[in-house]
Structures are given as structure tokens and as C-alpha cells.
């Protein structure tokens, strides 16, 4: 490999260090109007009447629109088309948009929006999972789902659970709560639209231009061919910019109404209302274990606070039950889950989508079972690790799997086993697994998940791919793959990405799918181009194409330019295309669409902390993170993703929380929503393990999301190691630690966390025959 695996600079880094990268809010066109949304001050209310006259009378106002102008519902999932860009009948959370103003400048738009008079009939808000499960005071938040405010339930059972529990020597139940949190991208969402000659163009800081393209088409009533969506360079996503949003719809409609470019940039507070962050999840888990630590059965129940709309929530719900089995070989497994609607900002996907919560519960639960049985927690895990090339009890196909090796490496690097034992000092260990792209698209189709087109002409090589660089480096991955195949440098490749008008479809930057899927599509297209050029070069050199050595800007003895010219002389204009569609991996049951992936990454973390028993304040000293990357396309970028994942995991473990006062976000600001500063961040030691996945591009797997997952339970485990108390609820704030220590002092259970799991009337579970063959002896 010449460029793959080398620590090369990202292709977009130079523009970013010079301030010349144009993010969405940096874009402006002559005559641009500025849009401001009016949002509901009530968590739950009926709209009785709206008076726009005063707003329209403000000098400089060009247009005011309401829900009547945008009556078509949308939503990211086909089964949850429950949002209006602007609500005209009912608002469901504080911040639900009800009107949009376009004016000559942002100040005027804001002033005018405030002059819109809305008469509300206030309804009784639903503010918690418990409230959502009980009979509502007023009507349910939505007219689908139910009973009460339940959005969706899931109940799946694999293998013989009862037999599994009967076989166990020890059975334990635990309850955990994972507080919700938000993405907090540094860049506030922004979008600008133009409407020219009946064609709509939307530039937006979105992670999923293709899905936005579909939603805009539906809401505007325009064919897809009349719309172009461009994902601008991204100031951070983390899942927070994967839904179609009200402000995107509003600027599109206002551009169509006014004929002018229209821009809308959210304020930081509005970003907290747009949210789509981590679901708060209450969890109950019951596991049966043999005396030697082997799991015999597991029953996992979840209840998710979904907030006001569907968003990705149905997928999130299934994810809270899906990936328990991709690290541990569980012979019999039952999952029951419910997502509820509440009158809070809508939850959605955040880095790890639905899996950090159960991973937190599962890892700590195993720690506790090990403690019960007097076993080493690491050994308990090892005894249950899945093996490569197996199928899990819930039909997930495991291919490459570096669990054993990442465990060895992280333990060795951290000296975890021989750690210093002292009150107030602790180390914690946990493992996890994550998808390399969702095996199924958001909407049902059999089309490729990623498509790539390469053009070769006198202007050089241009790659067109819908993949969206959100800072994770996907442009660099694509350029590196193409450069590797053509013997060039990544910086030689021109990229047109994230643009639905110019580039073929890629489903977007979510589910850690881009390196694997767009990487494979790019590889496919690049190899075809390489073969064309090699064929001509071989003719000219009088050898066979297989003998042509490609690299260092050369095809054999020819320079790339010479070879490319010969190829064009022979074939005329040259373009090649590549596609990637994952193999059909869904199991034979309803609900099997969530969880399958062409490969799984694995991460193992050790966290070293000091925690002051007098204050409960935690200082994280160091984190070691070993990650099974398959293969690093760019080790610098991979390391950056690991470090960023560790950082965000620590934030969720220690302080990040989208807290509410009843139904009102308590801290919608960068000051009050706590995220780690440089002073709070410990050193991170990254260990990369290459397992060379058989289907990944050059063997590569994901790294964007996985490394966050084990960090959260490892922190809590370290607190237990230090003080002997369990904090079964994140974030682990110092007051929780002090409460647990108080309980311990009083001789009560040394823990802080939820006491019980509600009685939820889950539907009769679907009993699924399992393909499973235990890979570890029971």
C-alpha cells in the first residue's frame, strides 16, 4: 500500500486552517433574505388563532409563512411521518416552530417574528416515561401509536430463555438509567436555499443530503429532479444533523415564495430545541450465569423517552436491544422495549445510536455478576466473547472480530490487572461493538447504499460521491482509496461530495457507514478506471495489464498523465462508476432490519480515575482505548476519531445531560450544558488493532462511533473500583457519588440509581428460531 495506512494530511485540512472553508452560514448570495422561526413557548398546546398582520407590516419583511403553507408531513422514517415544518394545529414541545419570517436582515426577521400573535390553548404536558405510560390528562401527543403515549414497542425472543435461566447457577437483575444528552456541534445548524428557473437548491449543514432531498421533495411537492441538496462543510454533526429540519423546509418554501435566496441559521438555544439527541433510557436486565461465568440467558427491557416526535426513534428503540449479542455469545435472549412520546425536544440518533445506553447497563451488570460469583470481570467477559465468523442468537453475522486482541492490548498497556489499589483511586474496564453501516436503508429499497463516479479527462481525476464529510474525514478516505488504486496522492484527487445534484447517491454520514460503504463504492469505481488505463498502458508497453505496476504517479513506465491521455485517445471521455450494497443480512423476523451490518468494530477501554470521597469529584487520569479498526485507511484520522469518541464518552459519563425543568430544557447554552474543556480532558492512549475485515475496503472498519461506547461503563466501573459504590445512572455527577457513599455508610445498598422498572404491557414477544450455535461451551 502506498497511501492507504499512511499518516497523510486530510485533503480539506489546509482550507480549514486558513479559514477559507465555507460552512453553511458563511454562504451568502446577492439579495439574500434572512429567515427566523417563531417557536412555541408551550410544551403542549393547541393553536387557536394566529395573527400575522403586525409581523407583515414590519418594514423589511418580505414574507411570513405558517403551517398552512407547508401542510405536508414528513419525518426521517417512513413509519414516523409525524412532523410539520411549521405546526398549525398543535405544538408538542417548547421550541416547536409555528411560523417563519423572511426579511432583509436577521434583526428585522427576529423583530417581526416576535410580532406574530399566537393564541394557544395550553394542554397538560407529558414530561416523563412514567407519565407517558399512564393515561394522559389530555389527548395523546400523537394520533398514532399507543396505548397512552407509547410510540412503539418491540418484543423479540431468541432461543429458549426459560431453559437458559433454569440452567443458570446465578441469576441477577439490575436497573439502570442513562440520562439524555445532546450533540452540541460547534456549528449551529444553518441552511440557505435558492429557487431559480423552477429548480430549488438547498445548501445545508446536514449529514444526510439524500434523505433531506427526499423530504424536501415531499413537502415542497416538487420532483426530486427539481431539487439539489448540497451538504456544506460541516461544523460538527455527531448525529444531530441527520433529520430533515424545519429551518431547511422554511428556507426552501420562502425561497419559492419570494424568488430570493433565503438563509436561516439557528441560535445555540434553537439547536438545543432541534436536539435529536441521545434518548434517556431506563433499563432492566436479568441474566443467568453458570458458576464459571458463562452466560446462559439474558432478558433485557428498555423504556425510551423519545420526546415529541418520531425521528429515528423506532430504530433507536430496536438498537437498545440489538448489539448486546455482538460482543457476548448469549445462547438465549429476550428483548422488550418501548419508546414513548413526551412533550420535550425530540430525541434521535447520537454517536452510538441507541447502543451506549444498553452497553452501559450491560457492562456494569456483568461487573456485578462477576462480583457476585467472585470472578474476575475481565475473565467473565472473555468466557462469553463472540468468535469471528459466527452468527449471533439474533441472527447478526459476525465476520472479523478482534475482541480478544483488543482486550489483551488494552490490559497490557494500562497495567489494569496489576493496578494500584487505594481508596479513591480506581480503574475500570469495558468492551463494546458497533456497526460498520446499517445493513438496511432508512426507507425500503434494493438500490445501492453508496454510489461513486470517477471522471477522467484533461482536467485530471474527479470523484463524485454523495458521501458527506462531517469532519470525520470521509473525503480523505475516498480520495485515499482512489489515489491508492490510480497511483496518485490523495491531494491529486478533486472531490465532489455531499451534493445530490452532481454526485450519485450515498445515504449519508450516519451509522458509521461511510468508510465501509462509500469506501467500497469508490474502490469499485477506481479499480475499473485503473483497469482501463492499465489496459492501454500495457498495449503501449507491450506487456499484459497485470504486469503494469501502478504507483508514484506512474502506470508502468508511463506517467499517469501519459497513460490517461492514451486511455482517452482510445475510449474517448472516460468515467467509471462503482456501487456498494451490503449483503442481505436481515434475519427472518419482523424487526430484524436494525442491527445487521456488513461488519462490526470492537473497542475496549480502561479508564483510570481518582475520586475524592469527601466531595465525589472525579479526576480522570488517563484512558486507554484499543480499537479493532480492521485496517486504518488513515491512521491519523483514525486516532482522531478514537480520541474524539473517548472525549465524548467521558462527557456523557461525567457531565453532559439534556436536563429539563418539567418540559423545559434546563440548560440550553454552552455555559450551562457542560462539555469537557481542554483542562478536563485526560491523556488518551490509542491502540489500533488490524483484523483486516474480508469485506471492508482494504479490510477497513468503522471508528467514528464505536470508541465512545466502552468509555461510559468503564468510568462507572472505575468509580466502583475506587470507592465500592455503584452509580447506575449517568452522568456520574459528584452529588450522586456522595449519595451512594451516604447509603453505604448507613449500611444500605451502596449505589445510586433507579430503584425499579415500570410495569409495561409489552406485546406478546415474537418467538424467533435461532441460527445460533454456541461458540463457547456452556
Amino acid at each position: 500500500m502506498r497511501v492507504v495506512g499512511k499518516p497523510l494530511a486530510k485533503v480539506d485540512a489546509r482550507a480549514k486552517v486558513t479559514g477559507s472553508t465555507l460552512y453553511a452560514d458563511d454562504l451568502i448570495f446577492p439579495g439574500t433574505l434572512f429567515c427566523k422561526l417563531l417557536r412555541s413557548p408551550h410544551p403542549y398546546a393547541r393553536i387557536k388563532h394566529m395573527d400575522l398582520n403586525a409581523a407583515k407590516a414590519v418594514e423589511g419583511v418580505v414574507a411570513v409563512i405558517t403551517g398552512n403553507d407547508l401542510p405536508v408531513k414528513y419525518g426521517i422514517l417512513p413509519i414516523s411521518q409525524d412532523e410539520h415544518a411549521l405546526e398549525s394545529e398543535k405544538v408538542r414541545y417548547v421550541g416547536d416552530p409555528v411560523a417563519a419570517v423572511a426579511a432583509v436582515d436577521e434583526e428585522t426577521a427576529a423583530l417581526a417574528a416576535e410580532k406574530i400573535r399566537v393564541e394557544y390553548e395550553v394542554l397538560d404536558p407529558v414530561t416523563s416515561i412514567e407519565e407517558a405510560l399512564s393515561e394522559p390528562v389530555d389527548e395523546p401527543i400523537h394520533d398514532y401509536g399507543g396505548p397512552s403515549n407509547i410510540h412503539k414497542m418491540a418484543a423479540l425472543s431468541f432461543g429458549n430463555l426459560e431453559a437458559g435461566f433454569a440452567e443458570a447457577d446465578h441469576i441477577r437483575e439490575d436497573v439502570f438509567f442513562y440520562g439524555g444528552n445532546t450533540h452540541l456541534p460547534m456549528e449551529e445548524h444553518s441552511a440557505i436555499a435558492t429557487y431559480v428557473d423552477g429548480k430549488l437548491t438547498l445548501w445545508s449543514s446536514t449529514q444526510t443530503p439524500h434523505y433531506v432531498h427526499r423530504a424536501v421533495s415531499k413537502v415542497m411537492g416538487l420532483p426530486m429532479s427539481a431539487i439539489r441538496v448540497v451538504a456544506t462543510p460541516h461544523g460538527g454533526g455527531f448525529g444531530g444533523k441527520t433529520d430533515p429540519f424545519s429551518h431547511e423546509m422554511a428556507v426552501c418554501k420562502l425561497a419559492m415564495v419570494t424568488g430570493k435566496p433565503v438563509k436561516c441559521t439557528l441560535t445555540r438555544e434553537e439547536v438545543f430545541y432541534a436536539h435529536r439527541g441521545r434518548h434517556p433510557v431506563l433499563m432492566w436486565v436479568r441474566t443467568g450465569m453458570k458458576r464459571n461465568g458463562r452466560i446462559t440467558a439474558m432478558h433485557f427491557k428498555t423504556a425510551l423517552d423519545g420526546g415529541a416526535y418520531g425521528s429515528y426513534g423506532v430504530a433507536t428503540l430496536f438498537y437498545t436491544g440489538a448489539l448486546q449479542t455482538t460482543t457476548y455469545d448469549i445462547p438465549a435472549y429476550r428483548f422488550e422495549g418501548a419508546r414513548v412520546f413526551t412533550n420535550k425536544a425530540p430525541c434521535g440518533p447520537k454517536r452510538g445510536h441507541g447502543t451506549p445506553q444498553p452497553r452501559f447497563a450491560l457492562e456494569l451488570h456483568l461487573d456485578k455478576m462477576a462480583e457476585d460469583l467472585g470472578l474476575d470481570p475481565v475473565e467473565v467477559r472473555r468466557r462469553n466473547y463472540v468468535k469471528p465468523n459466527t452468527t449471533t442468537v439474533n441472527w447478526l453475522r459476525i465476520t472479523s472480530c478482534g475482541l480478544e486482541e483488543i482486550t489483551d492490548r488494552v490490559l497490557q498497556a494500562s497495567s489494569y490487572v496489576n493496578r494500584q489499589r487505594a481508596v479513591g483511586h480506581g480503574m475500570g474496564f469495558a468492551v463494546s461493538s458497533y456497526l460498520c453501516g446499517a445493513g438496511l436503508p432508512i426507507y425500503w429499497n434494493s438500490l445501492p447504499h453508496s454510489e461513486c463516479l470517477i471522471k477522467l479527462d484533461r482536467g485530471g481525476v474527479t470523484v463524485y460521491c454523495g458521501a458527506t464529510d462531517i469532519g470525520q474525514g470521509s473525503d480523505t478516505v475516498i480520495a485515499t482509496v482512489v489515489a491508492e488504486e490510480l497511483g496518485l496522492w490523495p491531494s491529486d484527487i478533486r472531490l465532489v461530495t455531499g451534493d445530490t445534484g452532481f454526485a450519485p447517491v450515498d445515504l449519508g454520514s450516519y451509522s458509521s457507514r461511510v468508510t465501509f460503504m462509500a469506501g467500497n463504492a469508490a474502490l469499485d469505481a477506481a479499480r475499473k478506471l485503473r483497469n482501463l488505463i492499465a489496459e492501454v498502458a500495457a498495449e503501449s508497453m507491450g506487456c499484459s495489464p497485470g504486469e503494469i505496476e501502478v504507483g508514484d504517479g506512474k502506470f508502468g513506465t508511463l506517467s499517469f498523465e501519459e497513460a490517461a491521455q492514451l486511455a482517452q485517445e482510445r475510449f474517448g471521455a472516460i468515467s467509471t462508476t462503482g456501487s456498494y450494497r451490503p449483503p442481505d443480512l436481515a434475519g427472518p423476523y419482523k424487526g430484524s432490519g436494525v442491527g445487521p451490518s456488513p461488519a462490526y468494530s470492537y473497542s475496549a477501554a480502561v479508564v483510570d480515575i481518582d475520586v475524592d470521597p469527601e466531595t465525589g469529584i472525579i479526576k480522570v487520569n488517563k484512558v486507554w482505548l484499543a480499537h479493532d479498526i480492521g485496517r486504518s485507511i488513515n491512521p491519523v484520522s483514525v486516532r482522531g476519531q478514537v480520541e474524539g469518541g473517548v472525549y465524548m464518552g467521558l462527557g456523557e459519563a461525567l457531565m453532559e445531560e439534556q436536563a429539563y425543568r418539567k418540559a423545559l430544557p434546563k440548560q440550553p447554552s454552552m455555559l450551562d450544558y457542560k462539555s469537557l474543556t481542554s483542562i478536563d480532558m485526560p491523556e488518551v492512549e490509542t491502540i489500533l488493532v488490524e483484523t483486516n475485515d474480508p469485506e471492508g475496503p482494504y479490510g477497513a472498519k468503522e471508528v467514528g462511533q464505536g470508541p465512545l461506547l466502552p468509555v461510559v461503563p468503564a468510568v462507572v466501573s472505575a468509580v466502583h473500583d475506587a470507592l465500592g459504590v455503584w452509580i447506575d445512572q449517568v452522568p456520574v455527577t459528584p452529588d450522586k457519588i456522595m449519595k451512594a457513599l451516604d447509603a453505604k455508610t448507613k449500611g444500605q445498598a451502596p449505589r445510586f440509581g433507579p430503584k425499579s422498572f415500570p410495569d409495561i404491557a409489552y406485546p406478546q414477544y415474537v418467538k424467533v428460531d435461532t441460527p445460533h450455535v454456541a461458540t463457547q461451551a456452556i
Binding site: 455555559l671 481542554s678 455527577t733
Partner: protein
């Protein structure tokens, strides 16, 4: 982008003129120095002046010198960063320099002034919110509303004094010079505050703090320990300033002042007096800290659980006493 509403900006030639301008536009005008506290509050519309009278450009507010008596005079427009890195200040008033270095963030300390931090508005997480949020929550007593959202039982504002430097200035018996339209007066910093989240200061709105005077403190040691969630950015959710005069290993005078626990910096008079005549032994320190912490009653209007904050006051005082006694 969150923006400011229109106002006029006036640029007086001196402190008295500044005071006269604010007095003239009574209720319409506000003073602004670095603006690090005021500008965000204007953007959130917690204050809605139509005129700002800028004072940070006034050279007379930029002195930083030793006084003939051996104390120091610090102009009110000296930035927090300048205070934090001044060797003479750090030598004689380490607690004050420490407090200045712990305010907010490095870039903010390059702009924020010591006068501004002394007079920083009281804070409450029902109040330090945007207009839209406060509208959704219901406006509070301190701005636009008629009831306290934290403790609605009586019409009193419980917004919290959040200055890091004020408690240390009080512990060090500093005085402040205030310029009014008709002249100047010098008052103990301690007397600048009162127990009301709205009217938290005795200073007239038009009075300009021109400088702080620190008396000589040779033989004294001072400290400031700040409680906050993160290592940067955050306002104090508790803080303890301690000044000790020590001869040999005996304390001959002491002052303990708390921040972030009430609408004003709280001087723990009784507790501090316990230390006098003694050396720092752990039992005594624990007793003093306990005594200082006992009357403090934090409410649910700042970060983290108020029960935990209450419990932390004792710890803060203990840490600050040891830090000063080092």
C-alpha cells in the same frame, strides 16, 4: 446569530462625566467596561438599556501601582488577565490574583475587568436565560415577572452573587473608589453588597468604580478556592476566600468570605474569629469550616444539586484555610 438590540454608545472623557451621563438618562443608560457580563445579558434581554456609557477606554481607570503605604491601587479597567499575571499583586495578594485567574476563560479574562467582576450581576438559572426561554418558563421577579421562580413563596430574589474576586477583595479589606457626577467616595468593598438578588449593590447605578485599594498585607496570606463543574468557563457555584495574618505558627487575624452561596458575598465573621490565637490544627479547621458553612442555604438555582453545594461549603473553607496557611 444571537444579536444585540439597538442602543447608543457614549464615550465620556472621564469617570465623572460617565457618571453624569448615566445619571442624566436615568434608567435608560448603563455603564459598560469590558462588557463580558453585560453583552451576553443584553443579548438575552435581561437588561434593555437604550444607552451604553463606555468606560474601559478611560486611562484614569488603568492604574496599577503600589501605594506609598505599601498597599496597591488597581484601576477598575485593569483586566482580570493583567491582575492574574502581575507579580507584585501575586506576591502580596495571592488569593486575589488566584481568584482573577479562575474567572471564566483566558480570552474572556483578556477583556473582562476587575471593576466588572466586582459588580458582576447576580446569577440564577431562571434569570440568565434568553427572552424566549424566560417567556416559556414564566418571567421572574428580577426581570419582567412578578414572582421568584426558585422560591415563589415570597417576593424576594435569590439570584446568587457570582463574583470570584469580590470575596477575596473583602477578605483583604480592600476599598473601592466610586465616582459620581459630584465627586468621589471611597467605601469598603464589603459595604458594596446587600442581601437582595435584584438590588444586590449599594452602589448607585450611575456611580463608576474607578479603582480598588488594597491595604498593605505584608505578613498576611490569602487564598481563594473555587467550586465549579469544569476546569474553565464556569461561574462559581461556591467559593471560599481566606486571609490570614500569621505570626510564627499562630494566626493573629483572619477573614473568611464565601462566594456563590447567597445574593452577596458572605463574611463568616464568627468562624474566622475562632482561628485567632491558634495554629492550624485539623480539628480547629474542621470546626471553623463547619461554623462558616452552617448558615449557608443554597437554592436550586445554580449548577448541580443544591444539597451537594451546601455540603461542599465546608470543604471549600477547609481547603482555602489550608491553602492560605501553606
Amino acid at each position: 446569530m444571537l444579536r444585540l438590540r439597538p442602543f447608543r454608545y457614549l464615550r465620556p472623557m472621564g469617570a465623572e462625566e460617565a457618571a453624569a451621563m448615566v445619571a442624566e438618562f436615568d434608567g435608560e443608560a448603563m455603564l459598560v467596561a469590558g462588557g463580558t457580563d453585560l453583552v451576553p445579558k443584553l443579548k438575552r434581554r435581561q437588561m434593555e438599556p437604550s444607552i451604553l456609557v463606555g468606560i474601559s477606554h478611560l486611562e484614569e481607570l488603568r492604574s496599577l501601582r503600589s501605594t506609598p503605604e505599601g498597599g496597591m491601587e488597581i484601576g477598575a479597567a485593569i483586566t482580570l488577565a493583567e491582575v492574574a499575571r502581575d507579580p507584585a499583586l501575586s506576591a502580596q495578594y495571592p488569593g486575589y490574583a488566584q481568584a482573577a485567574s479562575l474567572v471564566s476563560t483566558p480570552p474572556l479574562r483578556n477583556l473582562g475587568t476587575i471593576g466588572g467582576n466586582l459588580m458582576v450581576d447576580t446569577r440564577c438559572n431562571y434569570y440568565d436565560m434568553t427572552y424566549e426561554w424566560r417567556q416559556a418558563a414564566g418571567f421572574c421577579l428580577k426581570k419582567d415577572g412578578d414572582a421568584c421562580r426558585v422560591a415563589p413563596a415570597r417576593p424576594h430574589c435569590w439570584a446568587v452573587s457570582s463574583s470570584d474576586t469580590a470575596p477575596v477583595a473583602i477578605a483583604l479589606d480592600a476599598t473601592a473608589v466610586l465616582a459620581g457626577p459630584e465627586g468621589r467616595r471611597e467605601v469598603p468593598v464589603e459595604s458594596l453588597y446587600q442581601d437582595d438578588g435584584i438590588h444586590y449593590t449599594t452602589k448607585q447605578p450611575y456611580e463608576v468604580v474607578t479603582s480598588l485599594h488594597f491595604p498593605p498585607r505584608a505578613g498576611w496570606r490569602s487564598s481563594y478556592v473555587k467550586l465549579r463543574r469544569r476546569g474553565s468557563i464556569d461561574f462559581p457555584i461556591g467559593g471560599a476566600a481566606v486571609a490570614l495574618a500569621i505570626e510564627g505558627d499562630r494566626i493573629i487575624d483572619s477573614k473568611i468570605v464565601l462566594s456563590g452561596v447567597a445574593s452577596h458575598p458572605v463574611v463568616a465573621v464568627g468562624a474566622a474569629s475562632y482561628l485567632v490565637g491558634h495554629s492550624l490544627d485539623p480539628e480547629l479547621v474542621a470546626e471553623v469550616a463547619d461554623h462558616a458553612a452552617k448558615p449557608v442555604k443554597p437554592l436550586d438555582n445554580a449548577d448541580l444539586a443544591y444539597t451537594w453545594r451546601k455540603r461542599m461549603v465546608k470543604w471549600l473553607v477547609t481547603q482555602a484555610i489550608y491553602e492560605a496557611g501553606k
